[in-house]
Amino acid sequence: MSDLKALIEAVIKGDISTATAETQHAVGTGHNAQDILDKGLIAAMDEVGERFSKGQIFVPQMLRSAKTMQECMKALEPFFQEGSITSKGKVIIGTVKGDLHDIGKNLVSMMMEGAGFTMFDLGVDASPERFVQKAQEIEPDIVAMSALLSTTMPSMRLTIEALKEASLRDKVKVMIGGAPVTEKYAREIEADCYAPDAGSAVSKAKEILGIS
């Protein structure tokens, strides 16, 4: 059984064809799928995250690595029992009602996915009802909300209130972010955390779920 070094390197480089071939190869040489995921793909993405936080690589390189990981996951999926892939957590994410900006939200979603979270993206202009409905459906660990405009921030508070009314607030952690959002605002509306950027969204999400 060979080690997963070549796979890790290919994911770090964002070399999709080599990485998917290495994934197939690892399966063929007797690695089990969970090991390939944990010790290969996620280990690679941890290294990518580390390099990014040190300023050694740039956002497009990190996103390419995340995309590479997703492609490798597609190759791995047939080897998992249905529902047996372990995830860091389920996250519903959306830009709140009234706001149509999605670049920041998409970035957070991709980075969290790359870090091993399972993302459910509600897109933009997502109403409190849609957050609640999706939360009832998938029972997420985290509800993440984004807003770019000062005038749409109140939708975050309304969404939290809707989660309370649906008796879901105690069952999920709420994370918020976006240009006009502040730590203070997060406290005011009783969100569990505020993430100032996509990189910190990943670490804060791990922190509030108590995972590494």
Binding site: L100, S150, T151, M153, P180, T182, A198
Partner: protein, 482 residues
């Protein structure tokens, strides 16, 4: 013999040649004809399809080039903004650049503590009064979204606050057709009626569509409102390279221009001949922090390129930015980045230049920064005026006098120096040229500290000519929801 009058060359920056300008313009037209755009205002969809646009898929439309040509033909090439007393203040007619502040910052640097804190309504008043008292800052924007007013009416409150604290032109933000109508109500009261305001607009609306190619309903409400009421408007969409737009600057410009052209076409259909400022605002998304940079060379470069496209193709006054920084405090980075965009925007003759006084990529406003920019604009203006060459400036007679004047004869004592030094030299107020010892004795203050003192002095001493009691009461009535 009288020497012939030699015209003064005024230094001018060019970054695109005509061929490049036309290729970018054609790319923008191709985006509109082939890719199309998403229009979320049903009334505008109808207006555009009646005019010749094709619906391709739900709310996606394609726009033929002839509509762009018609809109460019009917939009006014010259726009004049007035002050709030009806005097001509910003004639956007001859390439004179006008600098002003920005909007929507979340934080400000506190004048007393130097700490970054949330903006409150009083800050909006202070920025407006400071602008009113600064010679080289031509117009006011709110510089912040205050936390102590109801968020749904935030733009009405900051507009009212600006009106009460400056008489200079105002560039304002609104959320939708609802609050813009109330802001217009205040403006009409100040101008003395709707027709007076239309004739002598003292305000300009800044609205944003969403790159790539998305036009939300609330934004279109504002565009239509301005077109119908004759309020000047600009409509960039955030086609920042690597963010809302392609990472390469030419593509980002083509996309941003395409989006601007959509706005212009709708605007001219809704109000033929109404004033529209061109300008897509193409900065970059920083590839490490993902912020939209306010200190990068790219934004200065794309707006200089846009100025060339204005001169080659569009002819419409343009919207630009300068005097801002990504630095978190007013340090050397802030000074360097601010000056880079100030001098380049002036050398390329951008028309309406906003965002002066911003730190932290537009998230934090600083009164000190505005004061510094006021001086940097003066410095840049001196440079941009060039070197007049004539009998008086060549001063051959003075040279003759001093050279043959005998012992003790120096230029400093010559009449020519006495008569001309004020125009001949840029005389800084805040940029320090003292000898070391006197600088130290005076407290060894750095530029930030000197700007801080100057901001405090202006806020304490500058008197803004107040609005009449009747106008103030009417504003307060509108603020109460009347």
């Amino acid at each position: 013999m009288e020497p012939a009058e030699t015209p003064t060359f005024q230094p001018r920056l060019r970054v695109l040649n005509r061929e490049q300008a036309l290729v970018i313009h054609n790319a923008a037209l191709e985006i509109l004809e082939k890719t199309g755009f998403r229009m979320e205002h049903p009334g505008v969809v109808e207006m555009l399809t009646d005019a010749g646009c094709k619906v391709t898929n739900g709310d996606w439309l394609r726009l033929p080039a002839y509509l762009v040509e018609a809109a460019l033909a009917s939009a006014p090439k010259q726009i004049v903004l007035y002050d709030q007393r009806g005097n001509k203040a910003m004639p956007l007619v001859d390439g004179t650049p006008f600098y002003g502040t920005g909007s929507d910052a979340t934080f400000t640097l506190d004048l007393e503590t130097s700490q970054r804190r949330r903006v409150v309504l009083e800050d909006v008043a202070n920025f407006a009064r400071l602008v009113d008292g600064l010679e080289n800052i031509a117009f006011a924007m709110s510089m912040g979204n205050p936390e102590n007013v109801p968020v749904g009416d935030i733009y009405i409150h900051v507009f009212a606050e600006m009106v009460k604290n400056t008489n200079k032109p105002i560039v304002f933000i609104a959320d939708s057709g609802r609050d813009i109508a109330r802001i217009h109500g205040i403006a009409c009261k100040v101008a003395g009626g709707e027709e007076e305001l239309r004739k002598k607009p003292f305000l300009l609306n800044y609205s944003e569509a969403i790159s790539p190619l998305r036009f939300p309903q609330n934004v279109m409400e504002k565009l239509i409102f301005c077109a119908e009421k004759g309020i000047p408007i600009c409509l960039p969409s955030g086609s920042n390279a690597g963010g809302g737009a392609p990472v390469m600057l030419a593509g980002a410009m083509a996309l941003g221009i395409a989006e601007n052209l959509v706005g212009l076409v709708i605007h001219q259909l809704a109000g033929k001949g109404s004033p529209f400022l061109f300008g897509p605002n193409v900065s970059v998304l920083d590839m490490k922090s993902t912020v939209i940079s306010y200190g990068c060379p790219e934004w200065s470069l794309t707006q200089a390129a846009l100025a060339d496209m204005r001169d080659e193709i569009y002819g419409l006054p343009i919207w630009a930015y300068a005097g801002a920084s990504d630095a978190k405090v007013m340090d050397a980075q802030a000074g360097a980045e601010a000056m880079f965009s100030i001098i380049s925007s002036m050398l390329s003759r951008c028309d309406v230049i906003h965002d002066v006084g911003f730190l932290e990529y537009g998230s934090t406003s600083s009164l000190e920064m505005v004061v510094m920019v006021n001086e940097l604009v003066a410095m840049s203006r001196f440079f941009t005026e060039g070197i007049p060459v004539n009998e008086e400036t060549l001063a051959l007679e003075a040279i003759e006098r001093v050279a043959h004047g005998g012992p003790g004869s120096i230029f400093l004592t010559d009449d020519h120096t006495f008569e001309h030094f004020m125009q001949a030299q840029f005389l800084p107020v805040l940029l320090d040229r003292n000898r070391y010892d006197s600088w130290k004795e005076a407290g060894a203050a750095d530029l930030y500290q000197r700007c801080n003192s100057e901001a405090k002095r202006i806020l304490a001493e500058h008197q803004v000519e107040p609005k009449t009691k009747e106008i103030v009461e009417e504003i307060d009535r509108i603020l109460r929801g009347g």
